[in-house]
Subunit: 281 residues, 2 copies
């Protein structure tokens, strides 16, 4: 495609966040518009339905915070489900743990997987050839309905913002299924949108997850690549605040492998609830 | 000026953060370009030298975090210096404390003060008529050089990003003056830029402040209105981590008056140092 540099913006009503670069890919899959921009700011960047999703050089703020609070706190981590996560970043963080034996990655859009493998190579790195990872083209709701009860140690939802094809992943019924397929002492983790740019969805998600699981809590942190810069990740379990207790014996090696996350950062992140949000959740 | 809605962007090399609105003011003062945009996203928004500075409806993330860690931890808060802060937000937060008897607000640019009083009324609120506030049109460096030693209880730097006319506010010599005019148990507070969008300046500031004061620490938090969304505030003292100890007896009433800040948020914010930054500071 064109080698000319252009601005591509994610627009939220009256604000926009733009990145300048060369458009490598612009296509329509069965589910969404896909763009890949080659940028000097962040390497290659993926946009789905006009929202920035991920990029080579600024994705660790997001992926590390989605994975490590769950994997360092779960009693067992051998069998993991990732719904979404077609760029491979979430799987990459999970595969750092030698105790992980199986990951079912369930991505609805084949094109996202294909293009991520080809253009976002520094995100997926070597995950695609790791024998512990099984990739499945399927919608997350259908997949989880067909899984037996108490099957996974950790369930991670790494989906895009709500849209016609992903709306089901934001329902009480879906969270109930997540709880069902989790082992009793398992951990549920989900990206939970921006409390600024997507405040109503964020609040709804927090409330819904709270209804289904015995305990839940939200981390607020930085994703400079997303509009507003604030993002959130919500964790839940059926054990007393399981997700706040670090069990993993070699947590130091995980911290050392991370660009952003460490236990102190995580602890801070669970505290960063602005007053105005506390009143609404 | 024009009632047509336009996009105005803050551009950082290959990224941009834009807001849509009607341009109310566009002028050049002695020191800088000034724009005020009437926006549906954030109310009236102030841009200086093409950088977003503040806006009616998203400024509390910034001002509350600059003021309350300092004022709740200082033994005395009767006499305060604010350098910059022409929009009135920092003074407004300080004036919540009935123990504050005098604030010297030192703003270099008369136009910023004038336009803030006229167009950013929800930021300054009633501060301009509060008898405890004295506004002075003067550059911060000249002002502080003429102040006697051990004069202020709290010194707050609320300046814009480094530029030809503000560069002096980022030097060792300036921080040395701040230390000199502070009482021995006083607190120094400064905005310290974005560790993403202005990383080299941020790192330099942290290192310089550390050189001059006995103790210093940096809070990382959200300012959705600024590019990257991450901002930082650095606090320093000549007493053993003075700024981490909350002395103020009625801290609950301050928390209740805030939209974002509370002690828990502050505690989290001091922990949110990403690994990659920890290695550089």
């Amino acid at each position: 495609m064109s080698k000319k540099e252009i601005w591509i913006d994610e627009i939220h009503k009256y604000t926009r966040y733009g990145i300048r670069g060369q458009l490598l890919i612009e296509k329509k899959s069965k589910f969404q518009d896909i763009k890949i921009l080659k940028t000097k700011a962040y390497g290659n960047a993926l946009m789905l339905n006009n929202c920035w999703m991920t990029c080579d050089e600024n994705e660790k703020y997001y992926h590390e915070c989605l994975v490590h609070p769950a994997l360092t706190s779960s009693n067992n981590i051998s069998n993991i489900l990732i719904i979404g996560g077609g760029d491979g970043g979430t799987a990459r963080e999970c595969l750092k743990y030698k105790e992980v034996q199986n990951i079912d990655l369930v991505e609805i859009d084949e094109e996202v997987l294909f293009l991520s493998k080809k253009y976002l190579t520094s995100i997926g790195e070597k995950v695609w050839s790791d024998k512990r990872l099984s990739t499945n083209i399927c919608d997350g709701f259908t997949w989880i309905k067909n899984i037996k009860t108490n099957y996974y140690d950790v369930v991670i939802i790494d989906c895009s913002d709500p849209s016609e094809f992903s709306n089901e992943l934001f329902t009480l019924e879906f969270y109930r299924e997540c709880k069902r397929v989790l082992k009793f002492d398992g951990i549920f983790a989900t990206q939970s949108e921006s409390p600024e740019s997507f405040m109503p969805i964020h609040i709804e998600m927090c409330k819904s997850i709270k209804k289904i699981f015995m305990r839940s809590a939200t981390m607020y942190g930085f994703v400079p690549f997303y509009p507003s810069g604030i993002w959130s990740w919500t964790f839940a379990s059926n054990n007393e605040n399981q997700f706040l207790k670090t069990h993993y014996k070699d947590v130091k090696s995980i911290e050392d492998s991370c660009e952003i996350w460490n236990l102190n950062y995580q602890e801070g992140s669970f505290k960063m609830l602005p007053n105005k949000l506390a009143k609404l959740i």
